[in-house]
């Protein structure tokens, strides 16, 4: 059985509803669909953010996400998987990333979505630059994201 996998890197926004429909339309073997939408926030702590700019490494980003999608398919009985990551300038309230997982069982759909998000945060070659009142600066990597990703290798 071939599991439909969609991976897209794009500058344009995406439509979460359309992606859910695409993964489940016309199928009756899907019992659970989990979506994760990462959205640009208007502030971190007390500082207002005017926009994010996401830089990425074309070629490697697709390869890295593809490898983790394959790993997710090996580890969980998924019936569909979609990952969309935007790059370029994104303002608060706009989408940054979408993961959609479909399975016959909810645990698989939840776990695979968390796994993919943890790896996107720590392994996919994207870098965020924040524009604020005092100019712009690269976002530091968060140690708690590395810890979140590490839990998937401790089994």
């Amino acid at each position: 059985m071939t599991v439909p996998v969609t991976i897209r890197l794009q500058e344009a926004d995406f439509d979460t509803a359309r992606e859910i429909a695409a993964i489940s339309r016309g199928r009756t073997d899907i019992g659970a669909v989990v979506t994760f939408s990462g959205i640009c926030r208007g502030g971190e702590g007390g500082d207002a953010i005017a926009a994010l700019t996401l830089e990425h490494y074309p070629g490697m980003a697709e390869a890295e996400i593809g490898r983790h999608a394959e790993e997710a398919l090996q580890r969980w009985p998924l019936t569909g998987l979609t990952v969309i990551h935007r790059y370029g300038r994104i303002v608060p309230g706009e989408n940054i990333v979408l993961v959609v997982t479909a399975s016959s069982h909810r645990e698989a759909a939840f776990e695979a979505a968390e796994f993919l998000m943890d790896y996107l945060k720590t392994k996919a070659p994207f870098w965020k630059r924040e524009e604020g009142a005092g100019g712009s600066a690269w976002v530091d990597a968060a140690a708690h994201d590395d810890a979140a990703a590490a839990r998937w290798t401790k089994r």
């Binding site: 990462g38 490494y57 490697m60 390869a63 990551h85 990333v97 996919a124 870098w127 630059r129 530091d140």
Partner: protein, 83 residues
């Protein structure tokens, strides 16, 4: 050998990519970082804290102990902050 830079590594070095011909004694990623750091102030600044620099060879993450022989494209960048 093509080298590519991203995010603040790119900004500090002042270019997104270049082609270099390191001497034969430069065998590992760590050797290459050392050799590049000697090429000018902007390189020394970019690699001043080599521990935090991440490396990919031909689109796959590698450690700094990795050999560079046969690499088509080597990338240097800060820790990733996507997602």
């Amino acid at each position: 050998m093509k080298i590519v830079y991203f995010a603040w590594v790119r900004e500090r070095i002042g270019k997104a990519e270049e082609t270099v011909e390191p001497p034969a004694a430069v065998r590992t990623v760590a050797d290459l970082i050392g050799w590049l750091s000697g090429r000018g102030e902007q390189y020394a600044y970019a690699f001043e804290n080599a521990r935090v620099i991440r490396t990919a060879i031909d689109h796959a993450h590698v450690q700094q102990t990795a050999a560079i022989a046969g690499a088509r494209e080597i990338a240097f960048f800060p820790p990733m902050t996507g997602g």
